[in-house]
Amino acid sequence: MTPVQILFILVAAVTLGAALMVVNARNLVHAALWLIVSFGGVAVFYAMLNAGFLAVAQVVIYIGAIAILMIFAIMMTRNVAGDSSPRFNSSQIIGLVLALALFAGLVWMTLSWSGATTTPMPLDSRADPISQLGSALVSPDGYVLAFELASILLLGALVGALMIAWDRK
């Protein structure tokens, strides 16, 4: 095994273990903290795939914004943190079957894709992936439409939040 493979197995184990703890932890704040460990593991995967930008964006957005918002919401809500109700309900069997079916489907789809078995070409070390990503996001034959649509959606959300919070006299 190459060192990269060992690292991959270790990070995957931590990510999956943390994800399991998210659904298994009784304390909601603990669940959120485990979720952060899981997000961090995904960021390490991105870094290992030479996608530094995605890795850092994962940390900024998922840990820095989403997870902190979650913890904030949990701490603001009374008596939710120490929930002692049962962790499993009657649909656990169906849930397990559905999850396994989904996982099997994903594995089957990935294996039937030709790219899954071929070794990827090494990246051109001289090319700067960040500037390529940047130009692709704003070039007309790239992703400019999707980029602008996402911007408008976010702007709409911003204006909506402003309207809700606006104190009309």
Binding site: N27, F53, V59, I63, G64, A67, I68, M75, I130
Partner: protein, 400 residues
């Protein structure tokens, strides 16, 4: 002997390879040694910072400061550390033990992580990430998390209130900070901190002084130092998130804050003051460390100057200042800088600097004039006579 770091690294690499280690293992060992040396140096510097901080505060407050232990009180920080180490280590009842102990470690660790991308001399940088600026933001997010963890796990309502304030403050001030950071990125055409240092033939503080100021203000808010120390306001919530921490665990928060202030200084130096650049640095690269430290300590001194001169601002003022002043100003600055930079393509350096400088001054003065107009209107509104409640007049019943 002009570049000892490279010489030592090459010598060590040769030694390790000579022992028959594989090149990969040798690289891993070298990196580990580099990380250890860097972290150890920073933590030793951190102990020294305790003395710097106390001495400078004393000057600002017209006192002498520590002067008993050693020359100029230089051994005082050692005594401080010893005192912190032998104090009783208390974990409050009902505290979440793991999270409670993890939070101070995470706080100091995030500050050390920031140094990974700060170039300390030409060709010597922890790792030259091409997304360096974004990395700084990401590490800042983890620092916020550490403080929330400390506040929540202490099982103390003041600590929790401190954590709430932290979230409000740190997340809000992240916005103008990121926008201000985009301006050097835009000028250097790169997100790597090394590239930004290399491309500063003219220090960016001359080209983008307003962005530098916004970065400094929002960084002070990120560290939670006065005037933005609402996170640990003594008169309101005792000590905020670190109220329950004793001994060295409190020491880690304290050391983290001091080192973070110096780190902000180093970052400011790298982004706006040319980093390690200075006279003679091309011939003798090791001079770069001294230039960087001089600049970093100057900014650290400015941060202390602000801390010990200004009173704490009110929480609603803190939020309005951010959302109604810093963020719009930073956005307008970013737009104006982008347009001006494109328009001035091909002009001489002097013209470029003068136009950029003028643009910054005009924008900041315009923003200040707007704020002044709003403030005088607000003062008038507040100063108007308020309706006073009076007892109802007894109605006179007419006798007929």
């Amino acid at each position: 002997m002009s570049d000892p770091v490279t010489i030592i690294a090459n010598w060590l690499e040769g030694l390790l390879l000579g022992w028959g280690l594989s090149p990969l293992l040798a690289t891993i060992i070298l990196n580990a040694i580099g990380i250890l040396v860097m972290a150890a140096l920073l933590l030793v510097l951190d102990i020294f910072l305790v003395w710097v901080e106390r001495k400078v505060v004393a000057r600002f407050q017209d006192r002498l400061g520590p002067n008993r232990l050693g020359p100029y009180g230089l051994i005082q920080p050692i005594a401080d550390v010893l005192k912190l180490l032998i104090k009783e280590d208390i974990t409050p009842r009902g505290a979440d033990r793991l999270v409670y102990n993890l939070a101070p470690i995470l706080t100091l660790a995030t500050v050390l992580l920031l140094w990974a991308v700060i170039p300390i001399m030409p060709n010597v940088v922890g790792t030259d990430l091409n997304v360096g600026i974004l990395y700084l933001v990401a590490v800042g997010a983890i620092a916020t998390l550490a403080i929330i963890m400390a506040g929540w796990s202490s099982n103390n309502k003041y600590a929790l209130l401190g954590a709430f304030r932290t979230v409000a403050q740190m997340i809000s001030y992240e916005v103008p900070m990121v926008i201000a950071l985009l301006i050097p990125v835009l000028l250097a055409r790169s997100m790597g901190v090394s590239d930004i240092v290399y491309s500063q033939e003219v220090w960016y503080i001359l080209v983008a002084p307003a962005a530098a100021l916004i970065f400094l203000i929002s960084s002070i808010a990120e560290i939670g130092r006065a005037p933005f120390d609402l996170v640990e306001a003594e008169s309101e919530i005792v000590a905020g998130f670190h109220i329950e921490y004793t001994g060295m665990k409190f020491g880690l928060f304290y050391a983290g804050e001091l080192l973070h202030a110096l780190t902000i200084g180093a970052l400011f130096a790298a982004l706006f003051l040319g980093g390690w650049s200075g006279p003679g640095v091309q011939a003798v690269p090791v001079l770069g460390v001294f230039y960087l430290l001089i600049k970093a300590f100057f900014i650290y001194w400015v941060i202390m100057w602000i801390k010990y001169s200004l009173p704490r601002i009110r929480i609603d003022h803190m939020l309005s200042f951010n959302w109604k002043f810093l963020t719009p100003l930073a956005l307008v600055l970013l737009l104006a800088t982008a347009i001006a930079d494109k328009a001035l393509e091909g002009s001489t350096t002097v013209v470029y600097i003068l136009v950029m400088l003028g643009l910054n001054i005009v924008l900041v003065l315009g923003a200040l004039a707007l704020v002044r107009g709003y403030a005088s209107k607000e003062r008038q509104r507040v100063g108007e006579p308020k309706p006073v409640a009076r007892p109802p007049q007894p109605t006179v019943i007419e006798q007929s």
